[in-house]
Symmetry: C2
């Protein structure tokens, strides 16, 4: 493996809500994703999920509260907590989670990506 | 847990080579550390270790090659690979590794931090 330049990888992504894997660390994956609009409500029963905002801003909606994130801020959605990512404008996000984490948890939706790709 | 602002957390760190934990994601920890100079050669037998440069630049020396990293670049040192982080000028680094990862692997040195703190 060589160094991974996050800006160069992000420049290769021209769609939204499709995470691309950029690194594996033991059984975890580091992913990049561009987002805009509303994702689907979903839950990962056994996996925590970290979001770090690389550019733009982003809201993690949960049923009892929301957490707004700006560039350089991170938040961990605890396993078992239903959540929906929302971004008014396009944002670039680094996601960290177990490799086995399903994109939309136990839900299967039109936005669900089943086989996540490396970039 | 609330949002974690990386710049605010880094502003609280006024020493070097002492990682502080800022988030837990399942059995992984996300840590911040300021570095300058040469660390010690060490190996994590079972844990990969990710370094992401938040500011400055940083070299991961390995016995057969070195990888230079600038701001916004990451690199994963594979488990079992001896390495030594080196920074000519102060750099701020995000480290991602299993919670159980020993600071200097199997080596115990004057730089070794045994109990890593949250910040």
């Amino acid at each position: 493996m060589d160094a991974v330049n996050l800006a160069q990888k992000l420049a290769l992504i021209d769609d939204r809500w499709r995470p691309r894997i950029v690194a594996a660390v033991n059984d975890f994956h580091v992913k990049l994703v561009k987002v805009k609009g509303e994702f689907v409500w979903h839950t990962h029963e056994d996996e925590d999920e970290l979001f770090l905002v690389l550019s733009g801003s982003f809201v993690v909606e949960m049923r009892d509260r929301s957490v707004a994130l700006s560039e350089g801020e991170l938040f961990v959605v605890p396993r078992g907590v239903e959540h929906r990512p929302v971004a008014e404008e396009e944002a670039s996000i680094l996601v960290l989670e177990r490799a086995e984490t399903a994109h939309t948890g136990g839900q299967r939706t039109a936005m669900t990506v089943q086989e996540q790709e490396w970039i």
